[in-house]
Amino acid sequence: MKSIVPRYTREIPQRARLEGAKCLKCGHIEFPPRLVCSKCRHREFETISLQKTGTLLTYTIIYTPAETFSMQSPFAVGIVELDDGVRLTTQIVDVPLDELKIGKRVEMIFRLVQKEGHAGILEYGYKAVLTN
């Protein structure tokens, strides 16, 4: 089995701390970071911490998940726009599903995302909770 450990370790700054890359020329924020700015093609960035609050743009309810997430079914996955404009796909947790609504405010939190089988590593990262 191919181990997920190297990739998981490499992505910790993004998954655990929501670190993005801000283009030093045009100010566009890339998340996850890229080598070349998708707006102006510049190659120099500064590392920034993304805003931890945002707005729920859209969501769906997963009733038939991948096996790893079968115990959590049904659960919500949505697209969140953080207050600095970055959009990301994330699970939305700690909410009765009938309370979800587009436009609600969210906060990004740190949670267990999945387990690598019964003996592999535990993979942590960001999820969203409603704040209103």
């Binding site: 911490s49 079968s70 947790v93």
Partner: protein
């Protein structure tokens, strides 16, 4: 002055009532509630464990401390439910919070007293001059065996305390520990649920050590119960801490703000220290607070704190215990509870 420069707690939003657990096992909920003075307990979400609870509590502590996480030189997490048998919880936490990599990290275990143990180590590093800031955390997602008495109380939650010597919110005036080899509660390697000595967990274990540490620190400091605004004792249930406090001469009024167990259950390594967090939420400058933890096995750590002028400005920089535990609660059925706690086995 050395003491707490930031504190924070986290309790999951899921709850199960004692009535619901009693219903499952054909017991009378009212009898149990009257016996243990616990009405409901917190349950971790399916994506929550000791690490995520510790991270959430530590974030709240950082909000109150208002310091750069990079300044923290030591991180200690106490728990009896570290997610890995081999691999530290603390390493996940420091990377999640942007602490380090120049940081000393260790995980601790001492049943329910592992959190105060972590606080004691963090405090000692500041006192020795070895570090400027260090964080002690206690967090747990404890399990009681289905049908066992512990199932009514074993819950989830935690608190984090950043120790330092600048902008101190609560000075640590004294510490005192009391320990002996007492097998009142244990879990062998590889076993999912703990075992306990039933009534042996009372007088020879909890009360011997909590009262030993309480009397010891009062003697050491020369303080009397009436010198304290608040007193917090480890809360395996609602009755034990009230009885211990009364035996030492404390009133229910002194214990009530930190008596958090009736509505969240026993958060194990997070128990007495979350009571401390709630007491700090209510404290005014100059208040003295006694905290006595208890860990089976067995031992107690006692601390005397005195809040400073800085406490009031810090209290609302992060959610208070009351805000956190009353704002959002999602109640589970027993069936949902066993799913959330991973007690259901699926085929691969």
């Amino acid at each position: 002055m050395i003491g707490i420069v930031g504190y924070g707690s986290y309790v999951p939003c899921y709850r199960i009532t004692v009535d619901e657990i009693a219903r499952q096992w054909g017991k009378k909920g009212d009898d149990i509630k009257n016996g243990i003075l616990v009405y409901e307990k917190s349950v971790p979400g399916m994506d929550e464990d000791t690490i995520t609870i510790a991270v959430a509590a530590a974030k709240n502590a950082l909000k109150r401390a208002q310091i750069d996480p990079q300044k923290i030189e030591g991180v200690y997490i106490g728990s009896e439910s570290h997610p890995y048998a081999v691999k530290p919880s603390g390493t996940v936490l420091v990377d999640a919070l942007g602490i380090g990599p120049e940081v000393h990290v260790a995980d601790y275990e001492f049943a329910c007293k592992a959190g105060s143990e972590a606080m004691y180590v963090a405090f000692s590093h500041i006192k020795s001059g070895e570090m400027n800031y260090a964080m002690g955390i206690g967090a747990d997602t404890s399990q009681g065996a289905p049908g066992d008495a512990l199932e009514f109380t074993a819950s989830a939650g935690g608190s984090a305390f950043i120790m330092g010597k600048e902008n101190v919110l609560a000075e640590i005036l004294a510490t005192y520990s009391y320990t002996s080899d007492t097998a009142d509660f244990w879990r062998r390697e590889g076993r999912m649920y703990p075992m306990h000595g039933s009534r042996f967990t009372g007088e020879p274990a909890y009360f011997k050590h909590v009262l030993g540490a309480g009397r010891g620190i009062l003697k050491k400091t020369g303080l009397e119960p009436e010198d304290f605004k608040y007193a917090v004792f480890h809360m395996p249930n609602g009755k034990f801490p009230l009885k211990a406090g009364k035996t030492l001469g404390f009133t229910k009024k002194q214990m009530e703000p930190g008596w958090v167990v009736p509505w969240i259950g026993n958060t194990y390594s997070g128990s007495s220290i979350t009571g401390l967090s709630a007491a700090l939420d209510a404290a005014a400058p100059g208040d003295k607070i006694l905290m006595v933890s208890f860990g089976s096995g067995a031992g107690s750590d006692a601390f005397v704190f005195q809040t400073t002028e800085a406490i009031e400005a810090a209290q609302h920089l992060a959610p208070t215990f009351k805000e956190m535990t009353t704002k959002k609660r999602i109640y589970l059925t027993y069936g949902e509870y066993v799913r959330y706690r991973g007690k259901i086995q699926l085929n691969d």
